[in-house]
Every structure is written in C-alpha cells, then in structure tokens.
C-alpha cells in the first residue's frame, strides 16, 4: 500500500492533548486537503507525522510501514517531505545550495528550475535575500529535490500574493498525477478545495468533517459550521 495513514493518533503538547484520535488517509496520486481555523492543530499534526514532535501515540504508517518510532531523517529517507509553516529556507546558503541540501540525485537543481523558472536568475543568490514568494517556491522546490513519495505542505499560501498561490497550486496537482501523495494544510479553503481530491476539517484537535473536495466546495454552510464549532462558546 502506497500512502500515508494515521490511525487513532493523539498528540500532546505541553502536557495537553492538542490532537485527539485522528484518523486520516492521504493516498499517493491524490491531493488531500486539511482545513481548519487557527489553533486547530494542523501544524501539530504535520509535525507529528514528520517527527518534529515526538509525542504522538497511535499509529502512523508510510507505505504500510510504521514510522512513529523513527527519527526525522529516517522518515525523510523513506520518502516523506515536510514543507514547514513559515519559510524554512537556509538563509545563508545560496538558492542552489538550498536545493542541493535536499537533493538525492544530481539532476535535482535542473528539475526544480524547470518547475520554478523564476528562480533560475537567482540561483547563486543567498536565499535570505529572496522575496517571500521566491522563498516559498524554493522551499517547495527543495522538498521536491528529494523526490518524495508523500509531501506535507503547511500553509503554503501564507503571506503570498493570490496570483503566486494560483501559480503554485497546479504544481501539486501535477505532482499527484506523477504518483506523489500530497497533504495540503490550508487556512483559506477555496483554493485548496479547487485542487484537492479529499478534504478533512480539523477543529480543536479533532476531525469534524471528512469528504470529497468537490462535495465540500458546494457546501459552504458545512464548512462554515465546521469552522464555527471552533470558536469559543458564546460566539455561536
């Protein structure tokens, strides 16, 4: 089985359970969208999958293999890539070096440039000097340089111009077409639902909705209801 599967995953942070009893399936060849309001636990969930946080219990399998006991780099070497929230470039390294740091084959720089031609002119620029949009492209490109089988992307759109987001989203579609499994975390639903196959809505650490993106697109009220459930009592 080629995919990412979470079963009864509970994650504690600072002694409190931030995500509870999560079941989630992100198959290869599909874009799975994870939506939810601020503080819902989306980042926490991705962090637990990639090993940034080591306090998860339950079962997380990648291609049928339990990865919960593995270190971060071991999970990465099994084909898991995690684009962290915020632009996690290596600021002192050049664009090319950033890509090489994530590369597992010699044609990596080439492939990334084919995907993001805007970066060609900046190849030898320090990554810290790039614009926000360029940095986000670099971070995604760097993750792809390692030829992942499952890609986790956290709030790619944050701080990016809508036009840039619109340019990047189809790339996920294209990757899924090549067999990569993608788990896309987004706070702003509309664009993500356009490219996604299945969607989960996370709310105060629990999955409150699961369904097809197409289905969810038509049901704004379902989405709103799910989000509203997260607001403190009294605001309803």
């Amino acid at each position: 089985m080629s995919d990412l599967q979470l079963d009864e995953v509970t994650i504690t942070r600072g002694g409190l359970p931030v995500c509870r009893d999560i079941r989630l399936h992100a198959p290869r060849g599909e874009v799975t969208v994870l939506l939810g309001p601020n503080g819902a636990g989306k980042t926490t969930l991705l962090d637990a999958i990639s090993g940034v946080i080591a306090t998860a219990t339950g079962k997380i399998t990648l291609d049928g293999r339990d990865i919960l006991g593995l270190r971060r780099e071991q999970r990465a070497r099994l084909g898991l890539a995690h684009v962290e929230q915020g632009r996690s470039i290596f600021p002192g390294l050049s664009v090319e070096e950033n890509i090489l740091a994530g590369a597992r084959s010699s044609d990596a720089v080439h492939r990334v440039m084919a995907l993001f031609p805007q970066l060609i002119a900046r190849l030898h620029t320090q990554a810290g000097l790039l614009s926000g949009g360029e940095q986000q492209m670099l971070v995604i490109g760097r993750a792809l340089a390692g030829k992942p089988s499952v890609l986790l992307v956290d709030e790619m759109s944050l701080g990016l111009a809508p036009i840039v987001v619109r340019n990047v989203m189809p790339i996920f579609r294209q990757l899924a077409h090549q067999g990569v499994g993608i788990l896309l975390v987004e706070q702003y639903a509309a664009l993500a639902l356009e490219v996604g196959d299945r969607a989960y809505v996370l709310n105060r650490g629990e999955i409150v909705f699961e369904g097809d993106c197409a289905e969810l697109r038509g049901k704004v009220d379902v989405l709103r209801g799910a989000y509203l459930a997260a607001t403190p009592a009294g605001h309803k």
Binding site: R71, R72, E73, A76, E84, S88, F90, L93, G146
Partner: protein, 285 residues
C-alpha cells in the same frame, strides 16, 4: 625583537589550530567547547604514555590523535543525544563539565608530573632573512594556515560542507530533508578533537607539559577564536599567531615575562567589551 616574536611561532601555530577547532565546533554545532584543549591534551598524553611504554613515536602519535577524536565524538554524542534542543548556554555549560571530568580523569590516569616529550623535528631549524626559524615553528604556522584554508574550502565547495552549513542554520529543517544530522555532528566533533591533539602535540615539547597546563591552553585558544568573533577561520588563525608572537616578545622582556599569561585574558576582555559595544553579538543572534 623579531627573533623573539618568531620564537612564538610554535605557540602561535598551536593557538591558531586550537582556535580553529573551537570556531568550527561553535559555528557548526553552536557549542562553545571549553574542553577543546583538554580533549587534545588527553590525546597527546595517550601518545606520550604509549611512547614511554616503548612504542615508536610515529605510531603513538596517530593513536593519540585517534583517542582525541574518539573523546571529541563522545562529547558530541552526549550533546546530540541529550542536549540537541538545548540552547548555546546549556551546551557550553556541559562542555565546562566535560572539561572538569577530563581534568579529573587525566589527573588520575596520567598523574601530575610533566612528561618527557620528544620533539618530532629534534630542534632542526633554518635561516630566513637573517632570523632563525625552527622546523617545528614553520610546521605549526604552515599547518594552521593550510588547515584554515582547507576547512574554509570544504565548507564552501563540497557537498558535506553544504550539508554542515544547512545543519548549523536550521537543524530541524535539515533533518526533515533527510540530512544525517547525528553522523555529521560526530564527524565534526571527532575532527575538532583530532586537530586539537595535533596542536597540543606540537606545542607540548616547548612547555613543561603537565596535563593541567596543556588543558588550560584553552585560554589563549579562546582568545584567538574570539578575535574572529567565533565565526571567522582566518581571523582565528591570525589571532592565534599574533598571540603567540606577542607572547614571544613578552617573554624576551624580563619585566614583562612574569605577566605574559595575562595576555590572553586581556585579549578576551577587550574582544568581549568591543563586541558588546559594537552590538555585533546581538546582530549575530
């Protein structure tokens, strides 16, 4: 005067080399390692003891260097296992604990009496521009310069250099890319340990080489590293050389000689004050 300064070549080269290993560990691992000289001294002492036991020096030296590399790697293992999420302050404190442990262990294993240390180049020297330069001095200086150059080149031009810099800038992100952080960490610590042993081995014949005294060479080495603000390899080498030569001059002036040990403290204090004033410290964080 010039001859006096030149007599500081050996110390200068050793300070520079120790300073280099301190800068390397600080830049790559974020740890100010106060035990760096003690690790080198431990390795050097292993070589001395093996030599006294009848082993040829050419065999004892590599074994001593290997011992220092192993101790360095062990400290690196401790750091990466239990203190990988801890800040620079905690890690540096751990290195002080390591220094104390090494001093105690060294005292028990090697005793406190100075060793008879063979001079590898048996006092060979040559004349250049009318001053006498010992072979040891030339090797110490040349070695430090070449080492700085080689490390710089490695960090900038090789794949392992890219991975190391990535790891030092964002350890978690580097691990998420599949970079084998632990392995790289151990390599850096072991390399720094080996280099420190070399530095101590070269300076030991010129000193009364008790274990404690050699371990305390961390002070001038730190001063050298601080001249490069713990970042610049080149400045650390120049700083080390400068300090060695100043020390040589101070030694030749009878009124100053007793106070020459104070020199590195002056340099350290000056550098710290200057960095505070210039807010370089702040900008780096």
């Amino acid at each position: 005067m010039i001859q006096a300064a030149i007599s500081g070549f050996v110390s200068g080269g050793a300070y520079a080399t120790l300073g280099l290993s301190i800068v390397l560990v600080y830049r790559m691992m974020g740890v100010l390692n106060f035990a760096q000289a003690a690790i080198g001294a431990f390795g050097a002492y292993v070589a001395f003891v093996l030599f006294e036991g009848g082993m040829p020096y050419t065999l004892a030296v590599p074994l001593g260097i290997a011992a220092a590399a192993a101790i360095g790697a062990l400290l690196g293992l401790v750091m990466s296992t239990w203190f990988s999420e801890a800040g620079a302050e905690v890690c540096s404190t751990v290195s002080v604990a390591a220094l104390i442990t090494l001093l105690a262990a060294g005292f028990r294993i090697f005793g406190d009496s100075p060793r008879s240390v063979p001079d590898f180049f048996s006092g060979a020297s040559f004349m250049l521009f009318g001053v006498v330069i010992t072979a040891t001095g030339a090797v110490a200086i040349g070695g430090a310069v070449i080492l700085a150059f080689a490390i710089g080149l490695l960090l900038r031009r090789t794949r392992i250099g890219i991975l190391l810099r990535a790891l030092s800038e964002r350890p978690t992100t580097a691990e998420l890319l599949g970079i084998r952080a632990r392995r790289l960490t151990l390599i850096v610590w072991a390399f720094a340990g080996a280099v420190s042993a070399l530095a101590i081995l070269i300076i030991a014949p010129t000193r009364t080489s008790a274990f404690l005294g050699l371990s305390m060479l961390i002070v001038p080495a730190l001063a050298a590293a601080l001249i490069g603000l713990l970042r610049s390899l080149e400045a650390a080498v120049l700083g080390g050389l400068g300090m060695g030569m100043l020390e040589g001059v101070a030694t030749s002036i009878p009124d100053l000689a007793p106070y020459r040990q104070v020199l590195p403290f002056l340099v350290i204090a000056t550098m710290l004050l200057w960095t505070e004033r210039a807010e370089v410290w702040d900008a780096r964080r």
